[in-house]
Structure formats: C-alpha cells, structure tokens
C-alpha cells in the first residue's frame, strides 16, 4: 500500500486554507456586528479556526488515503468522514492524466487523474503524489498489468515523437482561439482596470467623460475595449495552455504534454479510440490549418470539467493533421459523397424561410410600435442565400471505407469524423417531415465516445432515402464483420499463446528466460 506524497499535506492545507479561510472571512464580515463594520478579532479568530480545521482535515485525509497497484486492479481507500474503498480493473482504465502547476513543480508533486469509461467524472484522483511516482503510475496503469521494476528504463527508448507544436502554430492558435471564460474575465478585468464600478459594466456617465463620443459611440467604444481585453486574455491563456505541446507514441498509446504555468501530461490508449474528429474552422482553413481530436469513451484528452473538449492536436497544417490521423487509424483516402443536389434546395428554402420569418416579425413590430422601422433591411441577405446553401451542401458528405465510416459537415467549422465500424454502438436512421418530402434522410453512427454527449455523433446528413437505408445496413453489417475478424484474431492469438506456454512447460529454462524478456 502506498500513501500520497508528504508534501501534499502542506500544499493541500494551503489551498484549502485559502478557500475555507476566505469563506470564514466572509462569514466573519457578515457576522460581526454592523455599523462599526469589522471586528478584527472576530474575523481573525474565525479565519484561524478555518485554517486549523483545514489543516486537521488534510492530515486526516493524508493518513487515510491508501492506494495499491495489484495484478489486475488499482485499489484506492480514501475518505475522512465517509470512507470509500475502490477497486478499478486495469483493463477498464481509459486515460491517465498528470497535472502540475508551478508551485507543485517546485514541491515536486503532481496530480494524477484516472479515467474509466462512462460517467461524467474522473474515477480516481490522487492529490498529490511525487513526480516520479506519478510517471510510474501513468505507465503502469496503462500497461494493463503490474510489471517488473526493470521495465521502467526500456519504456523511454521506443518513444516516438509524433507531433510538436511549432512556434507559428502556437501563435495562430492563440490569436484565433476564443475562450468564453477568458472573455468574461476580460470584461471584469477591464471594468477594474479602468476604475469602473464592477457592478455596472457599461456606466454611461464615466464613459462619456473619458472616451471620445457620447451615447451609442461610447457604448461601441466600451464594447470594443471589452472585446480587445477578452481577446488578449484569451490569447494569453491559450498560449500558456498549449505552450510546449508534444505528442508522442509509446507502443499502443499516445502521450501528450503541454502547458507553461500548469503542466499537463496524459495518455490516450489507442485501442480505446472511439472516433477521430478533424476540425477545420474558417480562419484556420484559409491558412491551411486544422485540428485533431482523439475521442475515447472516458473523455477527450485534456478535457477537464467545464472547459469542454480540447484537441489532441490543437492546431497543425492540414496535411500533418491528416497524416497523424492516418497513422492512428489508417482510414485511407476519403472521397466523400456529397448529398444529392435537391438537398441544396432544401437548405436554400430553409434560409429563405428563416429570413421571411425575421422580416415578418419585423414588419409586425414596425406596424405596431415605433422602435422598429426598416423591417426590410434583412432582404439584402436573400442574395446570399444561394451561396450559403451551396456552401453548406458542398461541405457535407460521407464515405464508407472498408474499416471506417467518414462523415463531414459544417462550413464555418468543417468537422470530419472518422469512426471505426467496430466501435459503433447503434445505427440510427432519421428522417424529418421536410426530409421526407425530398426523399432524404440522415444516418447517425453512435459510439461510446463521451464527446458526443456535447458535440454531435458522426452523422451523414441528407443522404438519398434509399441510400440512407443501405448505409444503415452497411454500417451494421461491417460492424458484425469487423467484430468477427477481431474475435478470430483473438482466438488465433490465444491459441498461439497456449502453444507457446505448453512449449515452456516442456523446457522450464526457456520458459523463464522468455518471461523475463517480455
């Protein structure tokens, strides 16, 4: 049984003290008698109590936390008030992530997160273990079995560098990424920095005196400044997050590292890959870039809690992205079949309908109120409809390969998904009323990838209805076929193993040496 790193007690205590201390500070402020406002002694006392409680809790937590790597499970016993014993089967583990911020690096500790399939949250988190121990665990847990100590050295040798983020790629990524959290922070920062009252983000009176123009122009200025601050902050965050991004391959798993202030590293087991997603958003596409996300059932790598899916390769030249994707799953050429031309009419009709609806509402408003006047302003957009419909149609399509289904959709964020047939969980054919009128239908190949909870599963949109039925049958048939093949391979493999072990029994000497070498 192993324990956490001793340095985790002071570190956790400090971070918890800051939290509980702050909470007690707030409570103290509110609890202390009003008027005179703050009684330093009361507040100080409560803060001290908060810190003491935090430290006591952390010591108990440290004392109680035990983990052990057995032959085929990872056992964790934890919990101060309510105790919990867990046994995670090693073959169910999907990802193992290691994270370290600046302070943790100085202390030589790291956080380990172990992810299993299903469930939105991390199965096991170790806060914190030593750096070496973290790396050892990361290797061992993914090996699928506890191996000898001697193996450690051999690991690093066959590490193959797949991808390294270039400086210009990082620059493009930072400039074009919009972080929603950062934009909020940027706004708050701006309101503080310029001495605004943070409770009112756009105080007109201050704006009018400080900035050129009045009224609407002032608001426009404020918005511009807000956007600028958000953008700069977002770029800085992205830069720090992806600084020094490296992707390496060790045997059958990917290993990534990234981060400037907070260093992350994680593994992506290749035999658990559900879907490859290649995204080429409009600004990237213009400069010939794209991104690649490797989805497993646990979660997409690097994705942590609220921040949503991050990519396995955040940005790279298009050819590199495709080459890398093919080295993971050799899906070959993809000549996509675009939807039939009548799908294009459908998109045009849809856009015209939306525009008409907007103008209709505008007309009603213009007729009854004085706020809206130029209700016909949107009519100009009607000229853009044919182009928009064409672009949407152009960027959709699917391809059924021998082993992979490829689907593509989206003009602004063109998304190509590659799904191995044997990962498909169910095949869903759906046809709306409007699709039925044009004899079209869509087919979705659902996988266990947790990214499709948030994004969309691989879907071939607006296929000819007959072809769609055929596509559904094909995917299902290929799934069965691929499963059979894999089963056969496995049984043959097992047979070889049995034969080999029987040979070993005949000659114990050979048996031992072969065991040592594997």
């Amino acid at each position: 049984m192993s324990t956490l790193h001793p340095a985790s007690v002071p570190y956790r205590s400090i971070s918890r003290s800051i939290n509980t201390g702050f909470l007690f500070f707030l409570v103290g402020v509110f609890a202390s008698p009003g008027g005179a406002g703050t009684n330093i002694l009361v507040i100080g006392g409560m803060v001290a109590v908060g810190i003491a409680l935090g430290v006591v809790y952390e010591i108990a937590y440290y004392k109680r936390f035990r983990y052990e790597l057995t032959g085929d499970t990872f056992d964790v016993a934890s919990g101060v008030l309510s105790r919990r014993d867990r046994e995670v089967p090693l073959r169910r583990i999907q990802n193992v992530d290691v994270g370290q911020n600046v302070l943790q690096r100085a202390l030589g500790i790291a956080a380990v997160d172990v992810e299993t399939a299903g469930g939105g949250q991390t199965e096991v988190t170790l806060r914190y273990v030593g750096e070496d121990e973290a790396r050892r665990l990361q290797r061992r847990l993914r090996r699928g079995e506890a191996t000898d100590e001697a193996e450690g050295d051999a690991e690093d040798e066959d590490e193959e560098l797949l991808f390294e983020l270039q400086r210009n790629e990082l620059a493009v990524l930072s400039v074009f990424t919009i972080d929603p959290g950062a934009s909020l922070l940027g706004g708050i920062l701006l309101s503080f920095a310029s001495g605004f009252d943070p409770s009112t983000l756009i105080p007109i009176d201050v704006l009018e005196s400080d900035l050129p123009g009045t009224g609407l122009i002032a608001i426009a200025w404020a918005l511009l400044l807000f956007a600028l601050a958000a953008w700069v902050l977002s770029a800085a965050l992205t830069f720090s997050r992806y600084y020094g991004f490296r992707l390496t391959r060790v045997d059958d798993e990917l290993h990534y590292e990234r981060g400037l202030l907070q260093r992350y590293s994680g593994t992506i087991p290749l035999d658990k890959v559900q879907t490859l997603t290649i995204k080429e958003s409009v600004p990237y596409r213009w400069v010939g870039y794209g991104s690649l996300a490797v989805e497993t059932a646990g979660y997409a790598p690097g994705q942590s809690g609220s921040r949503g899916a991050e990519s396995a390769v955040p940005i790279a030249a298009r050819d590199r992205v495709f080459a890398l994707a093919r080295s993971l799953e050799p899906f070959g050429e993809t000549d996509l079949e675009t939807p039939p031309a009548r799908a294009r009419e459908r998109y045009a009709v849809r856009y015209v309908a939306v525009l008409c609806l907007i103008m209709g509402v505008g007309y009603v408003l213009a007729a009854t109120t004085a706020v809206v006047q130029d209700w016909y302003a949107f009519a100009v957009l009607l000229f853009a409809v044919p182009l928009a419909a064409h672009l949407k149609w152009r960027n959709r399509g699917y391809h059924t390969g021998d082993q992979y289904l490829t689907t593509r959709t989206g003009f602004w964020r063109r998304t190509t998904k590659v799904v191995p047939y044997y990962r498909v969980q169910s095949v869903i054919y759906h046809q709306t009323v409007f699709q039925r009128r044009r004899r079209l239908a869509s087919v979705t190949a659902d996988t266990a990838s947790s990214a499709s909870f948030f994004g969309r599963a691989a879907t071939a949109y607006d296929v000819d209805a007959e072809d769609a039925l055929e596509l559904q049958r094909t995917v299902e048939a290929r799934l069965q076929q691929r499963l059979q093949e894999r089963k056969r391979q496995r049984t043959v493999g097992r047979w070889f193993e049995e034969v080999a072990s029987e040979d070993d029994r005949d000659d114990p000497g050979v048996g031992r040496s072969s065991e040592d070498s594997t």
Binding site: T444, S449, R490
Partner: protein
C-alpha cells in the same frame, strides 16, 4: 415486424391529454390573469378566448400525434440486432446490435400498470441510444423479450463493450 399492444394507445393518449391540459391551463390562466388584473388596460376579451382556442387546438394535435404514433411504432428481433421503427414527424429507425447491449430492464409506470402493460429498456454504452425503450408490451411478452435479448446479448459475446 412486431406491433405494440393496442392498449398502449390508452397510456399515450392519457399522457398527451394530461400534458395538453397542463399547458392549456397555463395558457388560459395566463391570459385570464392579464385580462382580469389590468396589467394590460382595456385588454380585449378575445385574448382569453384566443388562448382557450390555441390550447384546445394544441391538445387536439397532441392527441392526434399520440394516436398516430401507434401506427408507426414497430420493432423486430433480428438475427444479430434489435430493429426499431418509430416517430410520427421524424421517422427514426434504430439498429442496436446485440453485441452492444449492456443490460436490459423491464419497467412499469403507474399508468402502464393500470392497463397491464410494461416497457423494455435496452442500454448500450453509446451516448445517443443509451436507453432504447420498447413500450406497450404485455408483462409476459416484456419478460420474454427481456430474456431473449439477454440471451442474445450473451451469445453474441462482444469483447469490450466500448
């Protein structure tokens, strides 16, 4: 292709009726509040009648959809997959290979118990079809189907579920 037990219509109609009544109550209640409290001065009486009309129309549409749903719904226990067809407006045809079935449940809501019906729920590891449900089965048929699916799922013996 197997059809559902016709009694399932009773369940669907009742559920649709209840939902429509709730929505209608909200609509008409809201309109009546606006009319009576004078938030909108000189509100036309037409408002309340209009709300009532809309509520009734929506209710009728919902009931019609619930009635129609029975005609569309069908399923089949095929050789290596469960096949389901459903959807009044959006036609959905789902194929769930037995290899992917994680577990199978039978479920009986109070309304279903009242008309002596049950629902079989099939779980996969997929995110989209995490629960494929076949409603409107007699308890015996539900039990039998669950057993059958379970047997087929075990026989097809997938390696890893995901």
């Amino acid at each position: 292709m197997e059809r559902l037990n016709p009694r399932v219509r009773v369940v669907w109609l009742l559920v649709a009726g209840l939902r429509a009544a709730m929505l209608g109550g909200l609509l008409v209640g809201g309109a009546a509040t606006v009319y009576l409290t004078g938030i909108w001065e000189n509100a036309p009486q037409l408002l309340v009648w209009g709300a009532l009309g809309v509520a009734v129309a929506l209710g009728i549409v919902r009931l019609a959809i619930a009635w129609r749903r029975y005609g569309v719904w069908r399923f089949e226990v095929q050789d290596d997959a469960l096949y389901i067809e459903r959807g009044v407006f959006t036609r959905v045809k789902t194929v769930v290979p037995y290899v992917r079935v994680q577990h199978v449940d039978t479920r009986r809501a109070p309304l279903e118990r009242a008309v002596d019906l049950a629902t079989v729920v099939v779980y996969t590891a997929g995110s989209r079809s995490a629960d494929v449900a076949i409603p409107g089965l007699t308890p015996e048929r539900a039990e039998e189907l669950r057993e059958e699916l379970r047997r087929l799922a075990i026989e097809s013996e997938g390696e890893d579920a995901v």
